[in-house]
């Protein structure tokens, strides 16, 4: 029995529901999870080896074999590619001497691709041993690889530090906030603890009523009214209640949570405590994506500080019986864990497979108890709502979309970054604000959202017109929309589907192959008809939001950019199987040394 694995398992009290943490700790300690460790975990937790493996193999950042002393995860998102990822990747391969998904011969450096890491405003970016490297160029990559060869500590490889708290002692990262517009709610004056002091003078019903009256809706994208969710949870029967903050932020092109966690963590934790008070929840979990591990020490330190100043812990803000504490749960690379029930599964140490509804998380969530899962931005907004009142809040925004919204802007524009806007902003005005020109399309809400063109720029960002979690990727006219964007998004969904539902698992691949057929010049009109029909099956037939929206990249471009497809279609023929006979028999032709007249 290896002692360090035993120590890690002991640290989590042999608790099966902390399997994620056990695996994360082993992965970070030895760089991979050896079979002996899997066996040891299975014995200690009294579960099968396959039980350990099912969680282990679900997450992208776990590995069962050594992946290098330095592990480079180069972002492979659409925006990263727009910003010059391929040159950077090529330089990595040349300098390291191996291709991606491989480790150098000496075992020193591993090269891997990963989905959007929340740095779309400073791409190309990579995570190396947990540290984020932004704005990479071939020249920078040469330096970094030389540093790795020289055995430098990763933190010594930075060539600059970011702004604000990014430059603070416990973070010291290259990341920049890029806060471009400060609004009235989130990026305005904030006095830590003031809202909490006020809240403890109110009853729980009053707090929930205030949140209801503010009509704030979930900022993750789905837009469920927050007050109502709290109300449902509090009225659900359970032994104990939980509050989970969703900071998984996996939707490509989104990075607002990164900025909240960096600059407003105290506001976030205060919001969590307020929710804890209203729900009568004593336990809070901050579910944080693995990509933001570089913020771990900083956030844990702040949680400790808040405990010491009586804003977390027992009898908070002097209120007898108001106990609430927070633990951080890291993910390990799975987009689907942004879906609230998948997130709960993951926080329980399992595969991130979305649950069936009913029951809803507010009825039976984390540990089968009533649970509220709120987005980080929502919880921050709640702090200001309770401090300044629902009336103040509803004065901003539109009728059905009160308050402000953080949008993450990236792609082809002069000023990528985070903007706090009032709901109701027209897309056209947004584009002007961010310095975008010669625009072909805007991907609103990430791959699961909508791809719109000029015709829709008059629409407004709000729940009644164009609801969004806030990702805005701008694509200009020099891009190949179908090849550089749509196909990429389909690859993303294929990779990130949990695989449970048949249509999501199978049809994503089928749709992508169909798109490839069209891109290869083998498409006929019937392919477009079928594409549309099959996309609609995805929408109807799947369990969770991922599956229901996974066809959106194709569906919304078919609708808004039909000409992009039609120009690739051969309209003179009705049928083309797309089957390349000479390629199919190529190998045998070579073996026998003659070429048939095909």
């Amino acid at each position: 029995m290896s002692t360090y694995v035993k120590n890690i398992i002991d640290k989590y009290n042999n608790d099966e529901t902390r399997l994620m943490d056990i695996l994360i700790d082993i992965q970070s300690e030895i760089g991979y999870i050896p079979n002996e460790a899997v066996e040891q975990i299975s014995q200690s937790l009294n579960i099968s080896i396959v039980d350990v493996e099912q969680t282990l193999t679900f997450y992208h950042f776990f590995s069962q074999k050594p992946i290098g002393d330095y592990v480079v995860y180069l972002n492979n998102s659409v925006v990263a590619n727009m910003m010059g990822r391929s040159e950077v990747a090529k330089t990595f391969e040349e300098e390291v001497g191996c291709g991606f998904n491989n480790v150098s011969d000496d075992g020193k450096i591993g090269l891997y691709s990963t989905a959007c890491i929340g740095m779309s405003d400073q791409e190309p970016a990579a995570i190396i041993n947990g540290c984020v490297f932004t704005k990479l160029s071939p020249a920078r990559v040469k330096d970094i690889v030389a540093d790795m060869r020289a055995g430098k500590n990763v933190k010594e490889m930075f060539n600059e530090y970011g702004d604000g708290q990014n430059n603070s002692e416990l973070i010291k990262s290259m990341v920049f906030n890029n806060i471009r517009k400060r609004g009235e709610v989130l990026f305005s004056d904030y006095e830590n603890g003031a809202a909490l002091k006020k809240v403890v003078t109110m009853t729980q019903d009053e707090v929930i009523e205030e949140v209801k009256t503010s009509y704030i809706r979930g900022r993750g994208g789905a837009g469920f009214p927050t007050g109502l969710k709290w109300d449902f949870c509090r009225k659900s029967e359970g032994e104990i209640r939980y509050l989970i903050c969703n900071a998984d932020e996996g939707e490509p092109g989104t990075f607002k949570e990164r900025v909240i966690l960096t600059e407003l963590p105290k506001m976030l934790f205060e919001g969590m405590a307020i929710a804890g008070y209203a729900l009568d929840a004593k336990n809070g979990v901050l579910y944080l994506r693995s990509e933001y591990t570089y913020l771990k020490d900083y956030l844990e330190n702040i949680i400790q500080e808040l405990r010491e100043t009586n804003q977390l812990g027992e009898n908070i803000a002097g209120k007898q019986g108001f106990d609430f504490d927070i633990r951080i749960q890291f993910g390990a690379g799975a987009y689907v864990c942004g879906e609230e029930s998948a997130l709960i599964e993951s926080a329980e140490g399992k595969r991130g497979e979305p649950r069936n509804r009913p029951p809803f998380p507010v009825q039976k969530g984390y540990m089968q108890q009533p649970t509220v899962v709120n987005n980080a931005e929502t919880l921050c907004s709640v702090v200001k709502i309770l401090l300044k009142g629902a009336d103040w809040y509803t004065m901003m925004g539109t009728r059905e979309s009160s308050g402000t919204k953080l949008i993450s802007v990236s792609g082809d524009c002069r000023y990528p970054g985070v903007y706090e806007i009032e709901w109701g902003l027209r897309i056209r005005d947004m584009l002007e604000m961010v310095g975008a020109e010669d625009i072909q399309a805007v991907q609103v809400g990430g791959p699961s959202g909508t791809c719109i063109g000029e015709r829709s720029f008059k629409r407004t960002i709000c729940y009644e017109d164009f609801p969004t979690g806030g990702s805005m990727m701008i694509i200009d006219n020099k891009r190949n929309l179908l090849k550089d964007v749509v196909k990429h998004f389909m690859d993303f969904f294929i990779e990130e589907s949990c695989g449970s539902c048949v249509p999501c698992r199978a049809l994503t691949v089928i749709l992508k192959n169909k798109l490839q057929k069209i891109l290869d010049g083998n498409g006929v009109m019937n392919d477009l008809t079928e594409l549309k029909k099959w996309c609609n099956m995805m929408k109807q037939a799947n369990r969770c939001g991922l599956g229901q929206t996974a066809a959106n990249p194709i569906l919304t471009t078919l609708e808004n950019f039909p000409e992009e497809y039609e120009k690739l279609i051969n309209k003179d023929i009705d049928f083309n199987s797309g089957f390349d006979l000479s390629a199919a028999v190529g190998e045998s032709c070579e073996a026998v040394g003659r070429t048939p007249n095909l």
């Binding site: 579960i47 099968s48 080896i49 396959v50 039980d51 493996e53 099912q54 193999t57 679900f58 799975a334 595969r351 069936n356 509804r357 009913p358 294929i494 990779e495 990130e496 589907s497 949990c498 695989g499 449970s500 539902c501 048949v502 249509p503 698992r505 199978a506 049809l507 994503t508 691949v509 089928i510 192959n513 079928e530 099959w534 099956m537 109807q540 037939a541 799947n542 369990r543 797309g578």
Partner: protein, 233 residues
């Protein structure tokens, strides 16, 4: 006894026990709703999506949705039957299903559904994926070419100590069934047979055991699947 719940499927008046899911209730009322992942008595998975029915304009999986008073459920309508056929076709193209060479032919629920839904050739191109066969267990062979990832074995089968023999591995289109070779070595012949019977297709096959029943006399060789509930008109 608690009062029965009244609801309709395609206009037919039906009754259910409180808390019963739509799929089980439909079966009890002589209405056939196809499913590959559902097994009565174990927690529904809602993953094959074949049992999708329409309630108030929305598709819901019958296995995971409890019946409610006054529900009007649409089941045998072209939209839904068409979707079901499409899902069956998806399963055929994402795996490698060669019925004539399969030990389960005639007892296979996927094959039987393809017949019941009169599938000719799948509308989707075959993928012919390369899948591994896992024969590491002394008792069972896992043929992933045929596996439809319904999770029945995972959800309903443990060894005598309550430990899981089967689990998922990986995710998305790389998803597969994983078998604990060591634990499965201790399975009795009866348990190994049970594992094979749970599997709706031929993905879990017993080792060292031949065919008991000739092809042509098996469960779905004579009548379509679901005929015990409702025959095909």
């Amino acid at each position: 006894m608690s009062e029965k719940i009244k609801f309709t499927i395609d206009g037919k008046e039906c009754f259910a026990e409180p808390g019963q899911n739509i799929l089980d209730a439909a079966t009890d009322n002589g209405v056939y709703i196809p499913a590959l992942c559902h097994m009565r008595g174990i927690k529904p998975a809602g993953s094959c999506r074949l049992c999708n029915v329409k309630i108030a304009g929305r598709l819901m999986t019958a296995c995971t949705t409890p019946v409610e008073h006054g529900m009007d459920i649409e089941n045998d309508i072209p939209e839904i039957q068409g979707l079901r056929l499409a899902i069956i076709e998806m399963l055929f193209v994402e795996g490698n299903h060669f019925c004539p060479a399969c030990e389960k032919s005639g007892n296979c629920e996927l094959q039987a559904l393809a017949y019941r839904y009169q599938m000719m050739v799948p509308r989707f191109p075959y993928e012919f994926p390369v899948k591994e066969i896992d024969a590491s267990s002394p008792k069972l062979i896992i043929d992933r070419n045929r596996c439809i990832l319904c999770k029945r074995c995972i959800r309903s089968f443990t060894d005598e100590n309550g430990k899981n023999i089967f689990a998922f591995k990986k995710r998305g289109h790389k998803l597969q069934i994983n078998i604990d070779a060591k634990l499965s070595a201790n399975l009795s012949d009866e348990m190994a047979q049970k594992a094979m019977d749970i599997c709706p297709v031929g993905a879990i096959i017993r080792k060292e055991k031949g065919f008991d029943q000739p092809i042509g006399t098996r469960k779905y060789d004579k009548v379509p699947i679901g005929s015990d509930i409702k025959s095909v008109i």
